[in-house]
Homo-oligomer: 364 residues x 2
DNA sequence: GTCTGGATCTGTACCGATTCAGAGCATAGT
DNA sequence: ACTATGCTCTGAATCGGTACAGATCCAGAC
């Protein structure tokens, strides 16, 4: 007769205590069988595990263990506005993949949370059972960030925002953008246009003036624009004459729509600098629709060097950043923080200009 | 003087009890302030909340609450072999998005776990602090599934495998595949070829004979193949003469590589049936590389109707399944199960053939 | 024969909350 | 004046484990 049922005959939940009583030993010993094999004789341990399997006891309860040990084995990831965006962007996907891979080493899972600004959401973030948070590309001053920090658990930031006490993993966005603009000006381009992801979370799109560029709460975009501006000015191109088009999301379709008019005009630019590969793919598509030859009549550049950049036709000149590596770096930082090691954010990872088939000298 | 520090002056962790003592009231009352506003006077509640904000108390600890209440507010998602695959497939992304959206209503987050077969992984799954599991397209008999079930928590399955006691959300895969093959035969095609995702998790690729098709542990693919076979036979095409090419992942590049040889041969098929849109995109790419006109010289079909299908050039004839809806359906089932409602899996969702520009009559 | 030490195992105090029965105390009803 | 009612608030049990300080026992040292 097994004791899987209570005295009243109803099926009872199995716990460490159940098992201990069944075997006539103490809970502590059963606990040790699972957590510290060296604390009891191999024979007894085997007997415990065998009986556990027999009764169908799945091991210590995760929440109780979590409460006592102070860790649940999960790392929260705060992604911007809706998970679908995070998933759709190959940049984010590779990051998450690298992160997951690294965290697996400590048995940590990923708890995804969308960071809407709504109050209800903040509560969910504050009350999420996680050991640490990873904040991924949120605009500055986003309330969800404060919610994530409220428990005092470790926080690691990807790209932005810079937070006191939280290591940040980022790249040299200015340098990357500058290098791509320099590449174009060196090819002889004098008439550029820029396509960018959202600068603020207000859903605005269309031309972004200097003021909006400077006040962008998405730091990554602000920096890339600044880098591009600096390089343009250095080449003698007044930045104010370079149109900057803002899209409401990092989506090829939106980019294609955004540049359609611009490219159809007779005084169209000879090169379009897209601040992400996704946007660049949209520009390529728009050019194809209009029958514009790339790079013959129009040069296009991207940013990120996502897998799609190399696969595009023509293949995309872009700025390579170590996408999956960043996930692993962040994961390693999280693990370090959870072990209590004081860790500092690494220096910004270097970026590298990758010249492919989408850029050439402007038509003469 | 605030009491945020212990008697020894060291910073002490804030708990409900801390706050209660600070205010000279009982813990129960503080707890009620957070969870049952109707159980105490509004005035006291306001005082408690105000003092909490003052001291920086972030609210009840998630794990302790989880232990006591028996729920943590997280739903585990078991995805096949590495998160990157799950993220890369737009089908899965839309599913996850719908799921997350639906679960948000109950404040539930998504805990992602890769389902490798390794023993270490199983332990992580068994010990994950989640209220329920969603199993997404895992092969039959995958050990991770048993691990997910071991705690006796609710499980909902997407597509496969069919599990006793776990509702399943799926579509009419046979019907969908049959309709697309019927569409092609009605256009006059007599020489088909099929490209499929993995049939088993053994990493094999290349031609899959009838035996391998029938013994596929990925039920979805087995069914689509069966549906296609039935439709082909019904149209008088012996299925054994239809080559079936297996790819090691649902990846356009792999599909392109897989069909490259086939399409270069003089006796190439007049139509390629890809069992997912991702694969179909690869076939389109291969055709473009070879200079084959689609649909003039080659018809191509997909399956899923992911956003990319409509955006492809030419746009893809495919089988539409309600991708995001499925996520919401699964989410609703999970919520129901967590509320203790007995729920049955819905009938397979209907699929619909969407004819676009990638199919036409074969060249004469 | 006593002492020391190591290997095993147990008792018990936590971890930080939620819950439920009931105590205390006004107010209202009769 | 006395009970009934309703609103607030409290005490203590409980959720299921883990960790630490012993207790017990036996082998080997002196």
């Amino acid at each position: 007769m097994s004791k899987t049922e209570g005295d009243d005959g109803s099926p009872r939940r199995l716990t460490l205590l159940t098992l201990a009583q069944d075997l006539g030993i103490s809970r502590a010993t059963v606990s040790n069988a699972y957590n510290r094999p060296d604390q009891l004789s191999p024979a007894l341990r085997a007997r415990i595990l065998a009986r556990a399997a027999e009764l169908g006891f799945p091991g210590p309860d995760p929440m109780a263990r979590g409460l006592r040990r102070g860790r649940v084995g999960a790392v929260g990831v705060l992604v911007d506005e809706g998970l679908s965006y995070a998933f759709t962007d190959p940049t984010a996907v590779l990051f998450l993949d690298g992160l997951a891979r690294e965290l697996e080493a400590d048995g940590l899972g990923l708890l995804l949370h969308a960071a809407r600004a709504a109050g209800d959401d903040l509560e969910r973030i504050r009350d999420a059972a996680v050991d640490a948070w990873v904040v991924q590309s949120l605009p500055e001053r986003h309330p969800a960030v404060a919610a994530a920090q409220s428990r005092g658990r470790p926080v690691v930031v990807l790209d932005q925002p810079r937070l006191p006490g939280a290591p940040l993993v980022g790249i040299d966005d200015e340098g990357g953008a500058a290098s791509v603009v320099r590449h174009l000006t060196e090819l002889g381009h004098r008439c550029l246009s820029v396509v960018t992801m959202p600068l603020q979370a207000d859903g605005r799109s269309g031309p972004a003036d200097l003021r909006r560029q400077r006040s962008a709460t998405y730091q990554v975009m602000r920096r890339r624009l600044a880098g591009a501006a600096a390089a343009a000015e250095a080449a003698g191109l007044p930045w104010t004459e370079v149109p900057v088009l803002e899209c409401t999301a990092n989506d090829p379709d939106l980019a294609a729509r955004a540049v359609a008019d611009l490219l159809a005009r007779p005084d169209r630019p000879t090169a379009v600098v897209a601040l992400s590969d996704q946007l660049a793919l949209g520009v390529l598509r728009a050019a194809a629709t209009l029958g514009l030859a790339v790079p013959g009549e129009l040069s296009v550049t991207g940013f990120d060097d996502s897998p799609a950049a190399a696969a595009a036709r023509p293949s995309l000149t872009t700025v390579a950043q170590p996408l999956r590596d960043r996930g692993e770096t962040v994961g390693a930082l999280v693990r370090g923080l959870l072990r209590g090691e004081p860790v500092a954010g690494p220096a910004p990872a270097p970026v590298r200009l990758v010249v492919r088939d989408s850029t050439a000298a402007p038509p003469s």
